[in-house]
Amino acid sequence: MAKEKPGKLEVTSFADHHVITQPNPLRKVLLRVPESDLDDPVGRAEKALAGLSGEFKNWMTIEADRLSAAHAAILRSGFTDDAREELFRAAHDIKGDAATFGFPSAGAAAESLCRIIEHAPDLDQVPSDLIRHHINAIQAIVRERTKLDTAATAGVLSRSLRGIADEFLTYANRDRPEHLEAILTPSIIPTE
C-alpha cells in the first residue's frame, strides 16, 4: 500500500558481514503534523477493544472448552504427539489471550500448564491430578467468575498451582540444567 518503490540498496561490505541500508520505504506514511492536529490512535483503539469486551466471556469459554477437549482426548488415548501439541496450543492460546479478555488468573494457570507440557521430561510421569487441577481451575475461573468473591480468589488459585507445578518441574529436571534454567528464569512479562 505504501506504493513507493524500495529505494536503492546501499551495501557496505566488511570481512565477515555486509551492512545493507536503503532509504526508509515507509517514510511517506510518517506525517509531520502540528501538535494540535495529533489525534489519539491508542485511545481510539482501546475504546474499540472495550467495544468488543461483551464477547470476551464467550470467547474465553470457547478457549477453555477447547482445552478440556484436548485433555479428554489425552485421557482416552494418552499423550500422542498430536494430542500433546493440541493441549499445549490450547493452553498457550489461553496464556496469551486471557488477560486481554479480562481473565488474567486463567492466563497464569494456563502458563503454568504450558510449562509442565514444555519441561516435564516425560508427560506420562506427570501426576494426572496436576494437569487436571490446572484445567479445572481455568474452567472455574472462566465460568464462575461472577460467583468467585473477588479476582483475588482466582489469583490465589493460579499462584498455588504454579507453586506446585514449579516444585514438580524443578525436581523432575534436577539433572537437566537447560530446562532448569528456563524454569527458574523469570518471565519477561510482569506478573499480575
Binding site: 505504501a2 558481514h17 555486509h18 506514511v29 503534523v33 481510539r44 474499540a48 489471550d97 528456563a182
Partner: protein, 181 residues
Amino acid sequence: MYRIDFNKLRFLICDDNPHMRRILRTLLHSFGAREAYESEDGATALEMYTHYVPDIVITDWAMPIFDGLELAQMIRQPDSKGNPYAPIIMLTGHSDKRRVTVARDAGVTEFLAKPISAKGLYQRILNVVANPRPFIKTKTYFGPDRRRNTNNAYIGPERRIGGEMEVMQQPSLLDKARSSV
C-alpha cells in the same frame, strides 16, 4: 510531532486463533488501517505475503503447518523474489528471554509478548516505520541489525570482523579490576 498515516499501510496478520485475529483487526482498523489481510497458518501467510506484498507483517509464533518463526525465516531469504526486508512483528504468548533471542536470530524486527495492548502494538508499528534498522548479512544471518544501541561502555571482543581492525582489543574485566586496585 509525527503521526502515522495508517490508511497507506498494508498489513498481513498471521495467527491461528480467530479471537486474536479479531482483536488485531480491531486495533489496526482503529489506528486507521484499511488493509489488513489475515491468515491462520504460516504456509498461507507466506502465499499471501508474496501476493499482497504487505508493508508490515504481524505474526504469532505457535501455529500449525509452519510456525511464525519459520515464516520469518522464509521471508528473510536475501535472494528471494519477494521482499525480504519487510518489518516482522512477532506477537506471541511465549515470554521467556530465550525465545526473544531465537526470534531475533530468525530476523524478526520487533517482539511483542501477549497479552496484547493497543499501546504496545502502536509503539512497535511506530518503531518499524520511524526507525528502520539497517540489514546485516552474514553467513548465518540475514535480517535487521540485532544491535539496537551503540554501547560505548562495551568491554569484550568485537564479534563482527571489520576491514582493518579485525579485533578490538579490550581490557578484560579482571585486568580492569586489577589495575584499579
